[in-house]
Amino acid sequence: MDIEELTERATELVRSGTLSYDQKLRRLATLATEVLAYPDISDACAAALDKRVVCDMFEGHAPFTPRYVLPDYELAVRQGLEHLEMPAPTTLDDALAFLQVMYTHVPSVTTYPVYLGDLDKVLAPFVDDDLSDDELDVKLRRFWVGIDRMLPDAFVHVDLGPHDSRITRSILRVERSLRQAVPNITLKVDPDVTPDDLIEDAVRTVFETGKPHFVNHPMMVGDHGERYAAVSCYNSLKIGGGAHTLVRLNLKEVALLHAGTADEFLADVLPHYVELTAELAEARVRSLVEQQRFFETHWLAAEGLIDLDRFSAMFGIFGLAECTNLLMAYDELDRDGEARYGHDADANALAVRIVERVAELVADRPMPYCEGGGGRSYLHSQSGIDLDAAVTAGTRIPVGDEPPLLDHIAACAPHHHLFASGVSDIFHVDETATRNPEALVDIVRGAFASGMRDFTFNLDDNEFVRITGYLVRKSDLEAIAADGAVRHASDHLAAGSENAFHLTQRAVKRVGCHERDPR
């Protein structure tokens, strides 16, 4: 970037009428790293990046924090924080204050923490029978308001489950009464452990706030062990670890660069671009670990609350729907668009072949400093950013083209097991479900029995809209449309997606999520 462009973009930022003071500050910091040299990559990789066939999520030129950091909060409240001079808390009030302080010091590419802990477990040592449910609600309610006001970003994420607990129930009650966009919530569901009435309580919370997200606990444990969490916009990673970076491959663009059969695509073209994506990831990981020396310099690592060996990189793919449909057309099997992803058994089978091929290639590509993933990147179905136009998020079926729910699940479930770091499909339900929450409990159980890894319900007519995967309030979107400033950093991202997709006008709201736009 030359000084002229830097000046122009910085001027635009500082003079913005719709960004808050904090939002300006954070964006100026990102802008500054773009002055620095990009990590060493080949010309082919740079060209693919330039055309956004591969994408670095606009994390800046010199990564100085991992993208997703999952501190071990259970350990933190046991041993205290030396760097912050916070002794281990002994009461619930102390623990909540301790966490609130700690959250503001957890790094991420947004500057807001993407993970606040599995709070049912983190807080369990501080809640005993002497504390009534009403008292617990009052304390957690105050804590919850603090989170939303101090960490105003919809990627801030709390995990609960799979076991039932008083804390879990209290958090769901507080959620329903406050109806805040922040924090996002995931409920871990283990069919053998999580009771129906906890899932039903969660479903009732979905009706109020669009949260929680549901994850298949046994499948996650199989990939990450017991100590994992879903964070940010549904990225499942190891607690005490995280992801250095997220790079993603636009499968639609790769298919457009190809002119032969599906078999040739899988044999030649796809491996080439998977390697370019991996090259980009490796360059960014090395820059973070070797040049900026994050793990040697950050107190979370020094105090054992994160461990480099529990980190990996995330390898995202998106545009599977368009890729599949293009390849069906190249093979002249598309029946004028009728045989397409989500609607045709052959197309669905091809989609699975594509994902299986990517998974195989990613599993064959060693990555440095990625012991969390056994020396490999985690595969991720990446759910989009607000610049994505005419390409479908992750491995989803295009917005508005989803078949009935049973067919939808049948199309998507076969590849869910391959995405260790998350998929986040979204199921649209209408308001009749609110009178029969048991019906959604049945669907949660069925989806996991069918091999789904994770998903979210989006309720029509809800004040909360899942624009890309993260939540915003309709009223906040309308405020941006009226050119006003809003409180949540993520609302601006949503406004971009809303403009690009007219998502709230559609029958079904689904796209993706992201933490940062390029400006």
Partner: protein
């Protein structure tokens, strides 16, 4: 209710292969959250013995089938079981609706029996959504393989019932009493039409009769919606939301019913 599903199946076997019974089916949906408890697979049977002015599926009434683009099918039990099996992980049960499902009660009995006897499907509950105009003997034959019934009471007043449906309501009332006695009455549904069956005096009489059957009965109060119904002269009127809430209050003043409003 001494017969077990296996006995019934044997009974039906004796009378000829049960799965060879065909049903005349208007449509099926894999997932429904408005046809009984939880998520359910619903079979809409073609044909009805009522001709309700407010019907939302008039194409299921003989003589009202659309001339084009409407194709009810004759299906074997096994053909339906394939679809049910696919939905099974996601559903709590199966509901036979319509049309009037009990018009094809032998098919229902064969279908429900097959579900109860299939190890993969036996956990599913089998419900009937009915207008209630069915003989007691039909319910007795269905009872061993049926887990619950939802009965529409279009109107407690016989004359108004006849105006609304073309038929008297004596069988409907008898079905409600009989099913409650069998422990199979899941819910009674009252459809409210503004100016037709929603005045307080009629609602009180209805409530008193229902309370005598079961004072804690689950009642679904449904506000008529014109969408999908045939135009009438004079036009049918949708009750206001306030009228629906008021009707629920009137019912509640009589007995501690479990009331939900739609």
């Amino acid at each position: 209710m001494s017969a077990t599903p296996a006995d019934i199946d044997q009974d039906v076997e004796d009378r000829g292969a049960p799965r060879a019974v065909t049903g005349y089916v208007a449509d099926t949906i894999s997932f429904s959250n408005v046809d009984g408890p939880g998520n359910r697979f619903v079979v809409f049977m073609q044909g009805c013995n009522f001709d309700c002015v407010a019907c939302h599926n008039p194409q299921t009434i003989p003589g009202h089938e659309p001339l084009e683009g409407y194709h009810p099918q004759h299906l074997l039990v096994d053909q339906l079981l394939d679809d049910i099996r696919r939905a099974a992980p996601f559903i709590r049960g199966v509901t036979a609706s319509g049309g009037e499902a009990t018009q094809q009660s032998e098919f229902l009995r064969a279908l429900f029996t097959a579900i109860k006897n299939d190890p993969d499907l036996a956990r599913l509950t089998c419900f009937v959504d009915s207008n209630g105009a069915t003989a007691r003997s039909v319910w007795d034959r269905l009872a061993p393989v049926t887990d619950g019934a939802m009965i529409d009471l279009k109107c407690f007043d016989g004359d108004i019932h006849r105006e609304m449906t073309g038929q008297p309501n004596d069988l409907v009332l008898a079905s409600i009493e009989h099913l409650a006695g069998l422990g199979l009455l899941h819910e009674t549904r009252l459809l409210l039409l503004a100016g037709v069956n929603d005045d307080d005096e009629l609602l009180l009489r209805t409530a008193e009769w229902l309370a005598a059957v079961d004072p804690e009965m689950r009642i679904k109060l449904i506000r008529f919606r014109s969408h999908g119904a045939r135009p009438q002269t004079p036009p049918l009127v949708e009750p206001t939301h306030e009228a629906l809430v008021h009707a629920a209050d009137v019912l509640r003043s009589v007995a501690p019913f479990e009331i939900c409003t739609v």
